[in-house]
Symmetry: C2
Subunit: 366 residues, 2 copies
């Protein structure tokens, strides 16, 4: 197959004009605010209903807030954003359609379960690099109560949670991508100020998306919706393996290889599969689901999950570390369990998918 210079190996792309992250936001619930990453989030809402009457509308309001903050941080208006690439966990993406319609931005709805931030960032980056847009917003969310209602049990039922279960993050993260700004100050990302204050570097580097590796659906036949780490780990291993192969890299090229929500159970499976393939990522690996809560204090068992988990860990924590130049190269790999209440009740397995996004800081401080 004849390939352009952008295609790498079997399933990766290296951008000719890597898109810049020009704005970002992280909106979280109280439980996430009380967790280890709490101080990194832009906004923590104390009302679990976010001022709404239903959990679905609450999640819509969560998205609305994240979109507003990202716009505010970037200095762009909604009409300057050419596409919105977004989705959520709810059937027919209702949190997104009702949450973001007021923005009146041409909209691509995407569904990748908890890998959605990886999918939306990948497509958004392609839209910018391909010359189809100046600015694109990628956004996703999840809400604990909406997800429990949709996928598990009514909250009122108070069911016991096995130790392999994860806790759906209430949160929404948004990123605005665009071409290299002509003037740096054009991007008024408030995070810049923070990085100036940190004192570790007196530049405030932009973060670029250098490439992506798009995942396939991988099904190892696991049927336990309370053990989603096991369902998703094979997909994460597959996409990390192909990223390293396609770019001919070793894991230590990256400061961190960050999976979405494998949790403690899934992490071990990920290591086992990659070890068998000859890759050892133990030193670089970090899982958003493990970072976002403190199990001992917060009783969250195997960790956090949901589209919002990797989204706010990225927009709140990871990008902040990169703006401070503590990390310069990140492989961001949100992971999704392709499960529906219907397929689960019909006895189907839970296939997984994961999408990898290569994030790097600008090499030179201008």
């Amino acid at each position: 197959m004849k390939q352009t210079t952008k295609m790498r190996g079997k399933q990766s792309v290296e951008f000719a004009n890597p898109p810049y992250i020009l704005g970002r936001s992280s909106v979280a619930g109280t439980k996430e605010g009380e967790g280890p990453l709490g101080t990194y989030f832009d906004y923590i809402e104390e009302d679990p209903y976010f001022g709404a009457d239903t959990w679905e509308e609450a999640e819509s309001n969560l998205q609305k807030k994240a979109a507003q903050l990202a716009l505010q941080n970037s200095g762009y208006k909604p009409e300057e954003i050419r596409y919105l690439v977004a989705g959520d966990l709810l059937g027919q993406l209702i949190a997104t359609s009702f949450g973001l319609m007021e923005l009146k931005i041409p909209f691509f709805g995407v569904y990748g379960a908890c890998s959605t931030m990886g999918e939306s960032l990948s497509l958004a980056a392609m839209l910018v690099d391909g010359g189809f847009a100046d600015h694109v917003m990628a956004l996703t969310s999840s809400h604990f109560c909406g997800a429990e209602k949709q996928f598990r049990f009514p909250l009122q039922y108070g069911n016991q949670r096995p130790l392999a279960a994860t806790w759906t993050v209430t949160g929404s993260g948004a990123v605005i991508l665009g071409r290299k700004p002509e003037k740096k100050q054009a991007a008024k990302d408030s995070s810049k100020e923070k990085s100036w204050q940190s004192g570790k570097c007196n530049c405030d580097p932009f973060v670029l998306i250098k490439g992506v590796t798009t995942g396939k659906i991988v099904d190892f036949g696991v049927k336990d919706s309370m053990n989603m780490g096991a369902c998703m780990a094979p997909a994460a291993a597959d996409v990390i393996y192909h990223n390293l192969r396609d770019f001919n890299r070793q894991p230590d090229y990256y400061d961190r290889i960050v999976t979405g929500d494998l949790g403690y159970v899934g992490q071990n499976i990920l290591f086992d599969i990659l070890n068998e393939k000859g890759y050892h990522i133990e030193k670089q690996h970090m899982d958003c689901g493990i970072e976002i809560y403190c199990d001992e204090m917060q009783d969250t068992h195997s960790g956090g999950s949901g589209c919002g988990c990797s989204a706010i860990t990225l927009t709140g924590y990871i990008l902040e570390k990169m703006h401070r130049r503590e990390w310069n190269r990140i492989l961001f790999v949100p992971t999704g369990a392709l499960l529906s209440p219907v397929s689960f009740n019909e006895g189907d397995s839970v296939p997984g998918i994961a999408h990898a996004v290569i994030l790097e800081t600008e090499e030179e401080c201008e």
Copy 2:
């Protein structure tokens, strides 16, 4: 806002290297097979369960068949397809994830309700034009029984259907896009033979995607899920209006302007809105939902609907007419109602979305 040569107006793109349609397939159920377009479909399955035990699995099998036929018609193998952009109406896209995972193609799951074929074709075309892929498959489906179960009433209940209601099409359509083939015979689309036989033109032109106009979510506050034409018509009018504006065209540029599933009720609303804006598309307009069934004979009321409706009308009927050069310029506008059983039961409105795809035959016969 600085724009590349690809961007047109506020929400359109004109491709620098328009992607070619290299393969296509249409798989339908018996009711669709008995309708006015029946003879155009590649394959009609008599078993509504498509050999499965559940309606969801039936829809997965429908998609599998459509993907296989499109591959067969194009002459490509699954491993030559770099991305799969697909989705369906079911919560968490389970028809797609279970139907297509065996293909092992990097996967972007999309949700645009019944506008999904427009969304998947738009993104697939951008992936090819942007240099990210040689070949991409865009696919979608719907199944009457799965959709009734998901959105309306159990079939066994035998509810009465109001005259504004549409009938969800059981069908799946797939398109394989790619760059201009070096040798024409490389694309072994079986439809070529048909066009030779038609005798109207002794070339067998390829159909290209020249551009796209991406829709916004439009909500006129209609709450009746049994009158989806009214919910979607404003979104269709908006995207058609922007397409004509962005490209500075009059409706007669197109041989047909084809909406997805507005039905008889939605069609009138579409005309009214566009007339108010000074555009008259009555002569060019065609609606897949109106074409696919014969209401008098088939008791389908306002027409067909579902992702499969516009998908198989495109892949079976419209592209065949284009290969025969009976039509050379088509604006294909699948329309979606962003409705979920949860949002409907919570009393929310039904917002609409529509995506426009410009299809043109090769200008010169080589």
